[in-house]
């Protein structure tokens, strides 16, 4: 008898709860645009925040709401933007593929250390201790905060103390730009060829004293380039972003230190190739 009561009670309770859940489901339903989920699936799903929103979901919501254009996702690139735009029937928006560029060529052999650093191995920490151990206060410290911050495995630290950026993997999310305490990583359109690989505000011999490949601020590149392409500011040449159609290799030819370079895709191509193969070999040998 007792058992029958218990079973009956539980059965009645479950029926009651099932009914109330069914009612709640129909009455309290949250209407969500199904397109948000679809768009989120189309996005790369890296949740990197490069678009300016906290994660891909938030970006998808804003795209569907029409607040931003799909092209604002730098990671997905033009292809993703096109797919999303087609699905939603909106304009894809301007997409310029940007990649991170290292604006320092001061590897260990050309830009020597002047002090020993024996602390926490992070650029940020080293920079907090009177700007780091390198002779040049503007240059790359080479402790690899940027490599660690990279979500896409697009960077590795070369044996000469400079981070190498794989332009094929780089999505231009800007994580490394924020990680660098010296501000020597910047996002440039991949189509830009003229890159000044120096951030030193020093001029002439003072700059050369701390780094062999520093920009001395001589202004020859600005004089050789077509009118208005390169402007000198604070002893550094600034390539004007709105005049990139004028770009010519001529500007780099007479540079005394090679600080301004003509980059076609990969930066530091020889070093990159050499160490990339070494790295891959090391990887495969470990597997074997």
């Amino acid at each position: 008898m007792d058992v029958a009561t218990a079973i009956g009670f539980i059965a009645a309770l479950s029926v009651f709860l099932a009914i109330s859940l069914a009612i709640a489901n129909s009455k309290l339903k949250v209407q969500e645009d199904p397109r948000i989920g679809r768009v989120e699936e189309m996005l790369p799903g890296a949740n990197c925040g490069a678009c300016g929103f906290p994660g891909c979901r938030a970006f998808a919501e804003n795209v569907v709401a029409g607040k931003v254009l799909p092209g604002q996702c730098p990671v997905g690139g033009p292809e993703t933007a096109r797919i999303v735009a087609e699905y939603l029937g909106v304009d894809a928006g301007q997409t310029v593929k940007k990649v991170a560029r290292l604006l320092c060529a001061g590897s260990r052999d050309v830009a020597p250390q002047i002090a020993e650093y024996d602390g926490y191995p992070s650029c940020r920490a080293a920079a907090a201790v009177t700007g780091g151990f390198k002779g040049c206060v503007y240059g790359c410290l080479g402790l690899g905060d940027c490599v660690e911050s990279c979500t896409f495995d697009a960077m590795f630290m070369a044996p000469n103390g400079l981070p190498m950026i794989d332009v094929e993997k780089c999505t231009g999310c800007g994580d490394c730009v924020r990680a660098c305490p010296k501000g020597i990583l910047e996002l440039y359109p991949i189509s830009q060829h003229l890159i000044v690989q120096c951030k030193s505000l020093l001029a002439g011999d003072e700059a050369l004293a701390v780094c062999e490949v520093a920009c001395t601020g001589c202004g020859i590149c600005a004089a050789d380039a077509p009118e208005g392409l390169i402007l000198m500011k604070n002893n550094l040449p600034i390539v004007q972003q709105d005049k990139l159609n004028l770009e010519t290799e001529l500007a780099t030819l007479r540079c005394p230190t090679g600080a301004i370079t003509w980059v076609d895709g990969q930066q530091f191509p020889e070093w990159f190739q050499q160490w990339k193969t070494e790295k891959q070999e090391a990887k495969t040998s470990r597997v074997v």
């Binding site: 926490y120 907090a128 700007g131």
Partner: protein, 451 residues
């Protein structure tokens, strides 16, 4: 009984007891360093916006002349420390590790180097607002090390009142004897400074907090204290970081500054004793902040000294005057060993906030291997801010900075007590400094995104 009460020492909870090493310089009186040929005055020697230069290249400037004005509310004025000619206005190396715009003055070798317009100031006839403006244009910043502009501290916000004024003479950093020598040799300036500041703030009482390893200074100050000055000398236990302003307030008043707030929220303004003495000099001679006392000390220097140097003297000149460095020097610090800033170049100038220059040899600077945290909680017992450095250190290790925020990382005063006691040699403070810098950047970015 009264004698016993007089010897009563106050202190805060937690903290550490490092050896004080003050024997290098504590017996040496302050000596004035002879003028050198060149002075480098960075426009950013203080917390806040860089000063705006008022002089041009090639212009002749006089000792004590205003050469740069405060560019914002939180900024400081700058004065020529010597009579001479402006040789350059260009980026020069700064002890903080950046290249900072600096005014370089070449000394006129034939000038008598007297102060321009030297006269005592009749401060009693001036109103508090006028006195505050004089301090603002005098270029005063905290001489203890942080170099926070003094006039900003005295500009008490509406609705708040500075009931007590604290003179911080704890000097808890090992090696440094700057404040100690100032107390012994310049106590009239300190008392004059206190009078002026009490008038500006309208405070009812001043306290001078001194650690008990400087007992002769405590006795001297007590003896010489004018009877009409509402001031009390408080002996403090010799313990690090007794000289942190929050610890000083806790020791004397048993008041805790709330998280993220300032001493003014518990009705207190704190100043370093060196700042107070130089404010006293301002009203005695009309001398702005153009020179300061620096302890040049450590086992790595030939002749340790307490030097009175003009602001902007380059470190190389100081080293040359002190007989040079010993051969086995491995590290040169601006400030004390606990919170001091290691230097990468000897060309940097002495700034307003440089309380000492410490030369350490290879015997003191030993690289130490880092081991995993063993959860001994020595750091928890040492932390004067009641934080959990062990937990914070582990979060910092895996870069969980947002979680550190929930554990009050922003309240860390970076005193270094946790790193000092850590048996596993974990560089805790260094990690916290990185975390705080990144969090501050992130907050600024979010604020900018909102605006």
């Amino acid at each position: 009984m009264e004698l016993l009460l007089q010897r009563e020492k106050k202190t805060f909870k937690h903290g550490i007891h490092p050896d004080d090493y003050k024997h290098f310089t504590r017996h040496l009186s302050i000596e004035r360093m002879p003028f050198v040929d060149e002075y480098v005055l960075p426009l950013s020697q203080h917390a806040g916006a860089p000063s705006r230069p008022l002089v041009k290249l090639g212009e002749r400037v006089y000792r004590g002349q205003l050469i740069a004005e405060p560019a914002a509310f939180v900024s400081a004025a700058l004065h020529a420390p010597v009579t001479g000619v402006v040789k350059a206005i260009e980026p020069r190396e700064h002890p903080g590790g950046r290249m900072v715009e600096a005014i370089v003055i070449e000394r006129d070798p034939y000038s008598p180097q007297t102060l321009v317009n030297e006269h005592p100031i009749d401060w009693e006839s001036l109103s508090p607002a006028e006195l505050l403006e004089m301090i603002r244009l005098g270029g005063f910043v905290g001489l203890g090390g942080a170099a926070f502009p003094t006039h900003v501290k005295y500009a008490v916000p509406e609705g708040k009142h500075a009931r007590f004024f604290f003179v911080n003479a704890a000097e808890c950093e090992p090696f440094l004897t700057t404040d100690y020598r100032i107390m012994l040799e310049r106590y009239p300036d300190i008392f004059l400074g206190i009078r002026v500041i009490l008038k500006i703030l309208g405070s009812e009482k001043a306290f001078i907090g001194v650690e008990d390893n400087k007992w002769d200074a405590i006795e001297l100050l007590r003896e010489q204290l004018p009877s009409d000055l509402p001031c009390e000398v408080i002996p403090l236990e010799t313990k690090y970081p007794q000289g942190a302003e929050k610890m000083l307030i806790e020791a004397v008043l048993h008041r805790e500054v709330p998280s993220g707030r300032l001493p003014i929220d518990v009705e207190v303004v704190v100043n370093n004793v060196g700042t107070v003495a130089s404010i006293g000099q301002m009203f005695k001679y009309n001398q702005p902040l153009i020179e300061r006392v620096v302890t040049v000390t450590g086992p790595g220097i030939q002749r340790p000294a307490n030097l009175l140097v003009p602001i902007g003297t380059r470190l190389t000149d100081v080293i040359a005057y002190c007989g040079g460095m010993k051969e086995n020097v491995r590290q040169v610090l601006f400030g004390g060993p606990m919170m001091g800033m290691p230097q990468r170049s000897l060309e940097v100038p002495i700034l307003k906030g440089t309380s000492g220059v410490l030369f350490l040899t290879e015997y003191e600077v030993v690289p130490r291997q880092e081991y995993p945290c063993i959860h001994c909680m020595k750091c928890v017992d040492a932390c004067p801010m009641y934080l959990n450095p062990s937990l914070l250190g582990m979060l910092a290790r895996v870069r969980r900075y947002d979680d550190m925020l929930e554990h009050y990382i922003m309240d860390c005063i970076e005193c270094g007590s946790c790193s000092y006691v850590c048996p596993s040699n974990i560089p805790l403070v260094q990690r916290f400094r990185v975390a705080k810098a990144l969090l501050r950047e992130k907050m600024a970015r979010e604020k900018a995104a909102k605006a």
